[in-house]
């Protein structure tokens, strides 16, 4: 049985290649393997779509946490600036 035939039936390998495709790069051969697998496997096609979406959502999540701003309380900030001034005065 050729390597090609193996991938056609191997969802574990296909999902691995999907991850590699999303954040890395596939070789030409891997691209072909994945293409052939997805052509015949509707379950992995669902995985493919969802996996890309999850990555987008995760990235969006991190971005929005940053923008929506948690912030420090004033007392902490005052103390912090004092420490900085102390350090500056040492020099």
């Amino acid at each position: 049985m050729g390597a090609l035939k193996k991938i056609i039936y191997n969802c574990k390998r296909a999902t691995f290649l999907i991850e590699k495709k999303l954040i890395g790069r596939l070789t030409l051969r891997e691209k072909m393997e994945l293409h052939i697998h997805l052509f015949g496997c509707s379950v992995c096609r669902v995985f493919d779509k969802q996996s890309a979406l999850i990555n987008q959502m995760v990235q969006q999540l991190f971005k929005s946490t940053k923008d929506n701003g948690a912030h420090l309380d004033d007392t902490f900030k005052q103390d912090l600036q004092h420490r900085i001034e102390d350090e500056l005065n040492k020099n």
């Binding site: 191997n10 999850i54 959502m57 995760v58 991190f62 929506n68 912090l80 600036q81 900085i84």
Partner: protein, 187 residues
């Protein structure tokens, strides 16, 4: 000694503390540790202020210092990573039969989020966050570094002392797990 024309430490807290804190808390989810980090960043920045050349903005420079400190924390959290890889490999058997076929109970199913802009779906985002918290620390660390910091794979492997092969095992396993949790919780 201090490049005062370029840096203005008297205004650091006013100008950057909230930003740095928000940056830290979104990456390490530990309030106390995030506060400590902000303080450490300013103190470290004072020490190497003379090395600041003004090639980037003050904020970019401070953020770079913070980012390195966060990676240090990631590295500490991820010691023992290789053991986690073994667990990851083993647990993959939950999802697939030996021949690589999906086990029926783990078939990915449509979640009804595929086509209608889930990016702005608050409830789904909350489920996502809950599912991420359930991931083992080490997997989450690798996953976070990749997606949040957009670090190159080579950097992550070097920083966390993990081989490239193991990196992909972790990424694969993390996604299988995360997706399964979403499906289970959402449907």
């Amino acid at each position: 000694m201090l490049a005062t024309s370029l840096l203005n430490p008297h205004k650091w807290v006013d100008n950057h503390a909230d930003y740095l804190y928000a940056y830290a808390i979104s990456r390490i989810s530990d309030d106390e540790q995030a506060r400590d980090l902000v303080q450490e960043v300013f103190l470290a920045a004072l020490e190497k202020a003379d090395k600041f050349e003004g090639k980037s903005s003050e904020r970019t420079w401070l953020t770079a210092i913070l980012k390195n400190k966060i990676i240090d924390i990631y590295r500490k959290r991820s010691s023992g990573l290789n053991n986690a890889v073994k667990v990851a490999e083993k647990e993959q058997e939950d999802f697939f039969y030996d021949d690589g076929h999906w086990r029926e109970e783990h078939y990915p199913r449509e979640m009804g989020i595929e086509d209608n802009d889930p990016l702005h779906n608050k409830e789904f985002n909350q489920v996502l966050q809950r599912c991420m918290k359930k991931l083992p620390d080490l997997w989450l660390t690798v996953f976070t570094m990749k997606h949040m910091e957009d670090e190159s794979t080579e950097n992550i492997c070097t920083e966390l002392k993990v081989s490239s092969a193991n990196f992909w095992v972790i990424i694969h396993r993390t996604k299988l797990n995360l997706r399964a949790c979403l499906q289970k919780t959402w449907i």
